[in-house]
């Protein structure tokens, strides 16, 4: 009890510290000063009156959202004496593996640099700057010679590294048993099984609610709000509407499954299922839209996150995501983006060519995203120069690569992070941005949303860590789900040399972008935001295999298995997930 309290006060202190430096703080201060003019603010009860004013004017809500946002990215609490590396990654062997992977990437980048005699960075001559400025909106028409550039690495290279990960302290003996993990990932990380995936939804939202409760009198307890927003207990509300038939549960373990990703339950309305043409809109969709509009009107991040677990109506999605990610386009943000743009104009970075190459290889050829090619350059080039991204390395197992001013190798005073944001793009990186173009067409807003999505989620997909949403855990989760619930399929695929992870890895690394149809992808990303976790990617990957199991059982080679799973564009994500989580017979 005592420990929890002191943990909590530590967290509170850290968040307060963080927010003190933010723009919101100065705005609140200004508002507080301005409010002194108001008649209802009396000297005797100054503190209470100002608090009341904040509540009424919506500023408290903004503060709440900011706190909520910080909580969402806040790393799991650890021992107060733990060194900063532990925040990045508690397990030593993982840290080591990430370190050596980074060395390899850097080596590859440097050798490309030397081979092509291109500097990592150079200042553009004025003429070139002008030209680029003119062409800012159509950089896609530029056809620089990229033939000599290679992507620094591709997902399959990364997979090889993960396959070779070993915990030196772990000895599982030579004898095979039914416990032996048949998959490629051989590290002992704890991953959830289907019943636990169920409890995921419930515990996550409870933890947040408790934290907020304890934050002090200023924060309103969302539980006290009249059941306007769909919470766990409002499951009943939708059960009455009876969208789909429930399952008969004799098995207590399966009972727990009903709590599965709680809100994805069969009894609960989902967008992506219950808005299809056969279902009359009155049953679920209309009400869901109405609630969504209410959530937006209230501007409550926590409520939005809870709401979006059942999917977002297309018209509300852009605003909901912005609310959940706590992005509000202030003039300062636009200015910041313009500043980044100026940086792009003035300096040319080697990674720019990598970005060009990546876009040309992936998004430009994509049926859905080719239209937005130019937006991708505008976002990614600026992203590379954004040093505010460096702060996320505090909880990322990766570290930004360091480079030295020419001739000053090893001298710390001349060390810079390269690229400025510390993130080296790999093959397929631009696909993280592409789907967002369907929602935001204003470059600075698109940029902000992407940046936030990256520092909350996407970075975990290409760094080696033990985090439950990290790619290693996702791979293990995928393999474990498959081995536990589809053992025959898994064994068969393994026998023919088609380890399932070899096929599904690329889906997960890209968060399925470019593999699913866009409307389905957006429904999937709704749930990533809603559950603040990437685990759903592994579950979906397993669900896809389950769906095509019959065909997969008949193939006799890796190539044939790839062919069966080559085209995911017709898949409907939500029914697949529901079937896998709720209707899989153990």
């Amino acid at each position: 009890m005592l420990q929890e309290e002191s943990d909590l006060s530590l967290i509170i202190a850290q968040i307060v510290q963080k927010l003190k430096g933010s723009n919101l703080y100065s705005q609140l201060e200004r508002q507080a000063w301005a409010s002194l003019q108001r008649p209802e603010i009396k000297l005797e009860s100054l503190k209470e009156d100002i608090k009341e004013f904040f509540k009424i004017s919506g500023w408290e809500k903004k503060l709440q959202n900011a706190v909520y946002s910080e909580l969402s990215v806040f790393p799991l609490p650890s021992h107060p004496a733990a060194p900063p590396e532990h925040l990045k990654e508690p397990l030593v062997y993982m840290r080591k593996a990430q370190g050596s992977w980074e060395k390899r990437i850097l080596k590859s980048l440097n050798s490309m640099c030397t081979e092509l005699s291109i500097p990592l960075a150079r200042k553009r001559p004025v003429g070139e700057q002008k030209e680029l400025l003119n062409k800012w909106n159509e950089m896609g028409t530029d056809e620089p010679d990229l033939s000599l550039f290679r992507p620094v690495y591709a997902p399959k290279d990364f997979l090889e590294v993960l396959i070779n990960l070993r915990n030196p302290n772990y000895e599982n003996g030579d004898s095979l048993s039914f416990r032996t993990h048949l998959g490629l990932i051989q590290v002992p990380l704890k991953v959830k099984d289907i019943p636990e995936l169920g409890a995921l939804g419930r515990s996550a939202s409870n933890k947040v609610i408790n934290k907020k409760q304890n934050m002090g009198p200023r924060k309103q307890d969302p539980n006290q709000r009249e059941g306007e927003f769909p919470r766990n207990d409002s499951k009943e509300k939708f059960q009455d509407k009876g969208c789909t038939t429930g399952l008969k549960h004799n098995n207590p373990r399966l009972e727990q499954e009903k709590e599965c990703f709680v809100e994805l339950g069969l009894n609960i309305g989902q967008l992506g299922i219950d808005d299809s043409t056969q279902v009359p809109p009155e049953l679920f969709e209309n009400e869901h839209v109405r609630i969504g509009q209410k959530v937006l009107a209230e501007q409550d991040s926590a409520a939005a996150q809870q709401y979006i677990r059942q999917g977002s109506p297309t018209a509300l999605r852009a605003e909901l995501w912005a609310l959940i990610l706590n992005i509000s386009s202030q003039p300062e943000d636009v200015l910041y983006y313009e500043q980044l743009k100026t940086n792009v104009i003035q300096h040319d970075l080697l990674v720019d060519s990598l970005i060009y190459k990546d876009v040309k290889l992936t998004a430009s050829n994509d049926d859905y995203y080719f239209v937005f090619e130019d937006y991708l350059y505008q976002v990614l080039l600026c992203f590379s120069r954004d040093t505010s991204v460096l702060s996320h390395f505090a909880f990322n197992s990766a570290s930004p690569p360091k480079s030295y001013i020419r001739g000053k190798l090893g001298l710390e005073e001349y060390a810079v992070f390269y690229p400025p944001n510390g993130v080296i793009p790999f093959h397929g990186f631009s696909m993280y941005v592409a789907p967002l173009c369907f929602l935001y067409h204003e470059p600075s807003k698109l940029y902000q949303i992407f940046r936030e999505m990256y520092v909350r989620f996407f970075f975990r997909l290409h760094s080696i860590s033990s985090h439950p949403s990290g790619i290693v855990s996702l791979c293990l989760l995928f393999e474990t789900l498959l081995q536990t619930y589809l053992p025959q399929l898994f064994y068969h695929l393994r026998e023919i040399g088609a380890q399932p992870l070899r096929i599904s890895f690329k889906w997960m690394v890209r968060a399925f972008s470019g593999y699913l149809a866009t409307d389905q992808l957006l429904l999937l990303w709704d749930r990533i935001l809603g559950y603040n976790s990437l685990e759903i990617l592994a579950v979906l990957a397993a669900a896809v295999f389950a769906f095509r199991a019959v065909n997969l059982m008949e193939v006799t080679s890796l190539a044939a298995a790839e062919a069966v799973l080559a085209d995911l564009s017709t898949l409907k994500v939500m029914p697949l997930l529901q079937i896998f989580l709720f209707a899989t017979v153990t």
Partner: protein, 422 residues
Amino acid sequence: MAGKVKWVTDIEKSVLINNFEKRGWVQVTENEDWNFYWMSVQTIRNVFSVEAGYRLSDDQIVNHFPNHYELTRKDLMVKNIKRYRKELEKEGSPLAEKDENGKYLYLDFVPVTYMLPADYNLFVEEFRKSPSSTWIMKPCGKAQGKGIFLINKLSQIKKWSRDSKTSSFVSQSNKEAYVISLYINNPLLIGGRKFDLRLYVLVSTYRPLRCYMYKLGFCRFCTVKYTPSTSELDNMFVHLTNVAIQKHGDYNHIHGGKWTVSNLRLYLESTRGKEVTSKLFDEIHWIIVQSLKAVAPVMNNDKHCFECYGYDIIIDDKLKPWLIEVNASPSLTSSTANDRILKYNLINDTLNIAVPNGEIPDCKWNKSPPKEVLGNYEILYDEELAQGDGADRELRSRQGQSLGPRAGRSRDSGRAVLTTWK
């Protein structure tokens, strides 16, 4: 039914031939006894010309209406629509209501167009009213973007008429007739690029009007960023979306510069909202139906005929759709793999509706296929149903939900009270 369907075609495209063969139909020549003839527009002209004296028997079907050009020639389409509007106005129909500027509220879906040389003076008058406008010159009888150019000065027309073979406007032969339309220089841009919509509409009969819209239409994007700048008026890659033109530019053979209509819908709903998007799609359905109604009275509603049209529609930045033209012979060439699949399925669904059960046709049938065979088509407008009971429910599909209020209007043939439609 005895015997297999015997087919002929003078368009050698695999999407057609594969569909015939998969039905087990037998290929014959045009001189033999045939049941189904997929004709080019030249052939249909010959078949139905007065001199030919061709008589089609009850078990013969062709894929064009004899005088389809009333809809598919640019000048005749405009003429028919203008006539239709005037008729409605004379009747006092609420459909023909105008706003305070004299523009039709519901029937203003074709850009201002004049026939050249006949309406030259009228055109000049209009041009002088807004001298900074751009106009687009299109030859009446050509396709694939051939012969099209943009002008923004009267002198450019004069130059063109001088450069063409005839010495004066008056002696222009019918073949070289042009239309000149107000160019929509504020098209809706996505990713900074201009695009148009290609929608397929199947008409099985004009009186009563029964037409179907193919759900899988697509958008054709220009490969180059759009600019209304006058210096780029000559750059056809900026302005003309025809694949025949774009494919000579920076053309990508994987996606072909095409988007599905559902992508467009998703994008618009996400960025503009559901109401305005639904309104846009309603209006698109509306203008297609109105264009068909406009030509229905003059169409030779030969019972041996059906036709699949390619509608070209442009959306401007106020989300208003404009009908640009209707093609009688939409291209069956495939520029990408997806394209091939789409066109194959299009023909497949078309044949399922036009030739029921794939059996030897009897053109006396009521042309009312059961719902199951529609495939990717959905009923756009069925005059018989609209005039009967329960019209609203029949016509309302979830996607064209808004067909409801429109259908209500059409049902009354413009005589009853107009439902205000936001």
